[in-house]
Point group: C2
């Protein structure tokens, strides 16, 4: 009872009462029992966003690929390995998600076949056949009813243009884009974000991921409140 | 002076004065700025072996791929990412290595081409052309003069047979083999090892990697002393 009272008291802030599902980290796609296909991602940005959402009053579920990070206090954590496992974990929570933030660097290709036994070294070259994984963010966005959808885009070039195209193509409510490389973005403490939505955009200058995450959550909460005011029947009751 | 005196006092034990180079962890082969090809490996076994070698009096250099582990006290650490970087770091230290222990799960294939910009999602399937990386252990073993060479083998089947074949093919002095899968070997605390050499073998039963590493170093030190007694002119002086 005390814990639930404390929970209620903590649940003040711009996302009070909002059920947020966040994905973080890389996924890992097995080639054989030893070899994997993966993405560079420490999970730091996703974990920082989860912590900031919790601090803003949200009830947060963090679905994460393999990372070496402690779970933020008050956040429910679900560990997964592959894109397929992350996809299943997100879908299982879709009905109880008001706001979805896809920060994970999900592998978009996986080996077409997984070998049961370890591949033996042999030929000088080898062809690895890859096949597409499900696009979790696009699927969540296309679902009806759908949560408020926030995506992330890591780009090496034409960052804002690529992010704007992704916002439109996947019909997201908001997208946060960052340049990767040059000591920014992946596996480092610092980041910088361009945040885009239909009709607006905002630049969050280079800073620690924890700080950027707090600013991003403020922006998301504002857009979320506007969207909920415009679309949700519950606010008109 | 105090530090060097302390160093000398610490350098008692079966590997006193021995310069040991150990590789640990996975390597990561870039496909593009985000995607990588890698191996499952926490680096725990290699780090435990480095710690045990140091405790046995050795001067230890630990060349490691990307892992989330603290450096053992008194061990010199060199961080690398790709098989090519690990290869170069090992070769650079070869002239000052008396004993080489290759624990790293080195990627034996890497993408034939690395894309400068992030690959865009497109086709449903994709062919990734891979090419062999240098075999660090075989190269160290073939070098003249050569250090005492210890290899590791992670196998899913016919563990001892595969390890014996590798011992012979690469002309190693000793090999430690473990079964992967079933909660053993990779990314877990526990392991079990079959240790093989020319004319003998020994089973180290399931236990924590730190404990196995201590037993393994005792075995290695014994074989190393025998080999040095048999081959090194310095012991005959």
């Amino acid at each position: 009872e005390l814990a639930s009272e404390l929970g209620e008291r903590l649940a003040a802030g711009p996302l009070a009462g909002c059920r947020v599902t966040i994905t973080a980290g890389p996924t890992r796609e097995p080639i054989d029992p030893v070899r994997v296909l993966s993405n560079r991602s420490s999970g730091r940005m996703g974990f920082a966003v989860a912590e900031a959402a919790r601090a803003a009053g949200a009830r947060v579920t963090l679905i994460t690929g393999p990372v070496a990070l402690p779970t933020p206090a008050g956040v429910e954590r679900v560990d997964v390995e592959t894109a397929a496992e992350m996809h299943a974990a997100v879908l299982a929570r879709l009905a109880s998600t008001d706001l979805f933030i896809g920060v994970a660097a999900v592998a978009d290709y996986r080996p077409a076949e997984v070998m049961v036994h370890k591949l033996k070294k042999g030929a000088e070259t080898l062809e690895l056949r890859l096949t597409r994984t499900p696009d979790i963010l696009a699927e969540v966005s296309a679902h009806r009813p759908r949560p408020f959808c926030v995506g992330f885009a890591a780009e090496t070039e034409s960052v804002v243009e690529h992010a704007r195209a992704k916002l439109v193509a996947k019909q997201l409510d908001l997208i946060a884009a960052n340049r990767v490389g040059d000591g920014l973005g992946l596996e480092v403490e610092d980041n910088a974000l361009d945040v885009l939505w239909d009709g607006g955009q905002c630049r969050l200058e280079r800073g620690p991921k924890t700080e950027l995450a707090r600013h991003l959550i403020q922006l998301i909460a504002k857009r979320y409140a506007l969207a909920r005011g415009a679309h949700s029947p519950s606010t008109k009751a």
